[in-house]
């Protein structure tokens, strides 16, 4: 690797966190049109900064940055390994497209009480979204548990405030989200505190080393349980999912894709860091049995989420709640893989396959779901409703949008070519390798149900409507630009499907095995 690239990657590592945070502060000082320009500029800047990081990681390096020269355990340690690089890239791609979407469509930013009643466009969107982006990047590049916590809180609090931009109908959903998100982070904090009390360090690598020498497995195990419970709440795993649907479906159309596509993934990344990096699962025999039990519990809840979420999605009559329940179902797939990640045989190839499957599914979901939610929001803003029956025939005015929704649906169902397919294929391969045939059944049922609810949501848009829909007004240029943003995400859903092999190589860099 050329030294210039390495230096650039190191610089980018700090900048991807600090640039959006600084821009969030600056955007508070300028009027709304300038905020849109600033947001778009920062989006381009962050996407540009991620490029050297991804190049550097794909060359096999792990860029690290010790802020201010304070070494661990006191200092702040940033590190971009394969997991970090993948999620930085996905966040940059989805974030940049959604920034453009929100910049051209005022309704996407939410609604604001003005002197003449409720007005479209909320100036608060930009500082909150940029702060959220900074938190997302901080979570994925953080090398210590403390910054994971801080990043997670930054993401959580800005996400709650973003939901509340949707006007009075969204405030109760936002408050409910706040309660769950904060309780989840408190449990995570308790787990971190417990780990620190045993190891004396916050750095993830040092925690792992210190825990390998700890004879008594109870404290780390309790910590892992607390962290898993807290992060399960934030990731909306099935019995803890009920906050997600009102929050994601009542949020403004520019916010729902951010929440469903990106914010949920932050909790998943932290969970993977805790399970695979921080706590060595091969501790004692007794600890391992308990960890396996926990992994099987997560797997069972994941299966319940895939099936239950899909069935509930089938029963929705409105587009945004349907898409939100689809998120509940897709979250289940990530947890399905946990029993394979910590199998009793310590089969690293099996664990690597399951891990690759989780990341491919999560990355594919981020892109496809962001596109689908953006499309649903656009239709809801234009026609004033997202009742599927009322949107019948709307496709005649938006052929490109419907095509883009179809491309996103390919990714969510898991048809080739998409990361959803890659992920399901890898998960099925790992399941066969481990002899867990029930997983294949869940995967197949989930795929069929996903095809069913997506067809149920999208097909009526294409049907001929009996009476001409109320929206005879022509589609404006801004709406066309918004549609092209959705199209970009749809094309990215298919395009990233070709990168499956490269993704696998990338994830091997700096992995825990």
């Amino acid at each position: 690797m050329i030294p210039v690239w390495s230096a650039l990657a190191e610089f980018s590592l700090g900048a991807v966190v600090l640039a959006p945070l600084l821009a969030a502060a600056v955007s508070m000082l300028v009027p709304l049109p300038a905020r849109r320009v600033l947001g778009a500029a920062v989006g381009l800047l962050v996407a540009g900064l991620v490029v050297p990081l991804v190049v550097s990681v794909s060359a096999g390096e792990v860029p690290e940055l010790v802020l201010g020269g304070f070494e661990a355990p006191v200092g702040i340690h940033l590190r971009a390994d394969g997991l970090g690089a993948v999620f930085l890239a996905v966040t940059a791609l989805v974030g940049l497209v959604l920034t453009g979407y929100a910049a051209v469509l005022p309704a996407a930013e939410g609604r604001c009480a003005g002197p003449k009643g409720w007005q479209q466009g909320h100036p608060g969107f930009w500082p909150l979204w940029l702060g959220c982006w900074s938190g997302l990047n901080a979570v994925v590049v953080s090398g210590d548990l403390f910054n994971l916590y801080v990043g997670l809180e930054l993401v959580g609090l800005t996400a709650v405030a973003l939901v509340a931009l949707g006007g009075r109908g969204s405030w109760e959903a936002a408050l409910r989200y706040l309660f769950v998100a904060v309780l989840g982070s408190l449990l995570f904090l308790a787990g971190v505190g417990l780990l620190v009390s045993v190891t004396g360090t916050l750095d993830i690598a040092q925690t792992r080393e210190a825990l390998a020498e700890v004879a008594d497995p109870e404290a780390p195990l309790l910590a892992l349980v607390l962290m898993t419970l807290g992060l399960g709440m934030k990731a909306a795993l099935l019995p803890m999912h009920r906050w997600l649907v009102p929050a994601h479906s009542s949020a403004p159309s520019g916010v729902s894709p951010i929440l469903s596509g990106l914010v949920i993934k932050a909790a998943l990344v932290v969970l993977l860091r805790a399970w695979l990096w921080a706590v060595p699962l091969s501790g004692g025999a007794q600890s391992h049995a308990a960890v396996q039990w926990l992994a099987w519990l997560l797997g069972a809840l994941g299966a319940a989420a895939v099936l239950g979420g899909s069935v509930l999605a089938l029963r929705q009559t409105r587009l945004k709640p349907l898409v939100a329940y689809s998120t509940v179902a897709q979250i289940g797939y990530w947890f399905l893989a946990f029993p394979l990640l910590v199998s009793a045989e310590h089969d690293d190839a099996l664990a690597a396959g399951a891990y690759g499957a989780v990341i491919a599914l999560a990355a594919g979901h981020a892109i496809a779901k962001a596109g689908l939610f953006a499309a649903a929001g656009l239709l809801k803003d234009r026609y004033g409703t997202d009742e599927i029956a009322a949107l019948r025939g709307a496709g005649a005015h938006h052929p490109a949008l419907i095509l883009a929704m179809g491309l996103c649906a390919v990714g969510l169902i898991g048809l080739p070519v998409s990361l959803g397919f890659t992920g399901k294929w890898q998960l099925a391969t790992a399941a066969i390798g481990a002899g867990q045939w029930w997983l294949i059944v869940v995967l197949a049922a989930g795929t069929l149900l996903a095809a069913g609810y997506l067809l149920r949501g999208i097909a009526p848009l294409l049907l001929q409507s009996e009476d001409e829909p109320a929206a005879a007004k022509p589609v404006s240029v801004r709406e066309r630009l918004g549609e092209s943003a959705v199209m970009l995400l749809g094309l990215a859903t298919i395009g990233t499907g070709l990168l499956g092999a490269w993704l696998g190589d990338l994830l091997g860099v700096g992995a825990w095995w």
């Binding site: 006191v74 709650v160 408050l175 709640p321």
Partner: protein
């Protein structure tokens, strides 16, 4: 009776009790302000645990204390955000009660409408210049 317990264990037990009381109250109570305060109590319980764990060694653990201070800052932030949201929700309810006197006050209790958002009710769209 309590001579068998040292001070740290005492504090840990109190912290666990505070945390559990806060969580139970958070899950059971309907009133929004009471829920927010229950969340604060849970936070205090968690932070108390960390303080007690930090005090086990002769020189208190600086890393855990740093966690507690950050936790306090974040507790202030979420309490503020929650208070603003509650004030807006209650304010909107008062407006509704003034505008539509025959609306039952319990119509908008949180949780009752959990499976649907209500951003699209005709009343909400009243002032929306679409």
């Amino acid at each position: 009776m309590l001579t068998g317990l040292d001070t740290i264990t005492w504090y840990l037990m109190i912290a666990a009790a505070v945390t559990v009381f806060g969580m139970v109250r958070l899950l059971l109570v309907r009133d929004l302000l009471a829920r927010l305060i229950a969340l604060d109590v849970t936070g205090i319980g968690v932070l108390l645990t960390l303080v007690a764990l930090a005090a086990r060694s002769q020189a208190p653990d600086a890393v855990l204390q740093a966690l507690v201070i950050t936790g306090l800052v974040i507790a202030v932030a979420f309490t503020g955000l929650g208070a603003v949201l509650i004030r807006r929700i209650e304010g909107a309810r008062d407006d509704d009660d003034a505008a539509v006197p025959d609306r039952a006050p319990d119509e908008q209790t949180p949780g009752a409408d959990s499976e649907q958002d209500h951003g699209l009710s005709p009343h909400d769209q009243g002032g929306d210049p679409q």
